[in-house]
Symmetry: C2
């Protein structure tokens, strides 16, 4: 297809396609004349991934290039999903400043809590995962706010997260191509994570309203 | 207690306490001399809520004032939790621009999908909830990206969100005071939502690694 058709198919303006070409994000088309090139399905697919990473994922051109490189080298669904998961961070609300001594102690305590939880769950997650570090930071902040979970509570949340992750992976089940998988992963991280949080908020509203309406009895009873 | 003690207890600098006083966020202490005032436990509690809303919640002074007003008028746990839930938005990734005609159709379709889901779940959530609107926007975006859920999938996520919300409300169970409840709610929305998302990412990593290691058999088997 010509560049105009590629633009129409993907919803990416021609000028942006040319920009992504110059930045090395998109491979060259097959030259058919001095100023004309022919593009294929693989260009359309990659362009959709670039669009998802830069708009939904909010990544810079440099970060997008890194993710694309990792996806290209992945040759497996594991690698492609991991590259996207690591590139799109989970924002944790503002860390309050603390004295250096407090910092080290709280960090170590939170790190031990995370390691214990992962061992208890028997989750195979590499220590180098940025999400292990993110979880450690969040738990440290909860301790500092004097609002930490009891250990059992965190495990209860983790069991539910496991069930959600299973649904997530089912949604990616039909996709074998790393580029298509990576695009689906961006959508899951950017849109489906807020969808779940919105459902959680609505479920909270529902439960609070039922509790008020039924004088506290209904909320405790099985639904 | 004196303002210096109030500052020490809450970790809020004296200058900030004075600023919150001038902005009308914090009630006056009991005057003990022309330039001295005595503060009580209720001041410390409210100051912790102001701190949570402005730092963790990222709210402006004006938005914080509105939430505090709603919490004061609430006189119930329902109202206090609702005020905080509505004030702290759930960010949904960038909406792509669309033609006006497409917009109306997609909005209506997504709105119908949300209404149907809530009816099916029998959730008592007011139509005026910003989270109903947020969910509608997110589903519209999923449709536009050609990555919408099958209806049953969304219900499956909603059931898990219901279980997560039940854990959330258990964590607030011991708190009857609206101000203390509101503070806990800010922490749940700002820190516990990322914690769940981080657990979800780690669970995904675990499941992908198991699937690769066990050749696809383990992921399908019950854990």
């Amino acid at each position: 297809m010509k560049i105009s058709e590629l633009s129409r198919r993907t919803g990416v303006p021609v000028a942006s396609i040319k920009y992504f070409r110059r930045q090395g994000l998109l491979p060259a088309g097959r030259a058919t004349a001095a100023t004309l090139a022919e593009y294929g399905e693989e260009h359309a697919q990659r362009l959709r991934l670039i669009k998802a990473l830069t708009t939904l994922g909010g990544l810079s051109i440099a970060a997008t290039r890194e993710v694309l490189g990792a996806v290209d080298q992945a040759h497996s669904s594991e690698g492609a999903l991991g590259a996207v998961s690591y590139a799109l961070p989970v924002p944790v609300a503002g860390q309050s400043p603390a004295a250096p001594g407090e910092e080290t102690g709280a960090e170590a305590a939170a790190g031990a809590e995370v390691a214990e939880l992962l061992a208890e769950l028997d989750w195979r997650t590499p220590d180098t995962s940025p999400h292990v570090q993110g979880l450690t930071s969040a738990l440290k902040e909860l301790r500092r706010l004097d609002a930490q979970y009891a250990p059992g509570e965190l495990a209860a949340y983790a069991k539910l997260a496991e069930a959600v992750a299973r649904l997530d992976l089912e949604r990616a089940a039909g996709l074998d191509d790393p580029v298509a998988l990576a695009e689906r992963a961006v959508i899951v991280f950017a849109i489906c994570a807020p969808v779940f949080e919105l459902l959680r908020r609505l479920a909270q509203e529902n439960q609070v309203r039922r509790r008020v309406a039924d004088g506290g009895a209904a909320a405790a009873a099985p639904q």
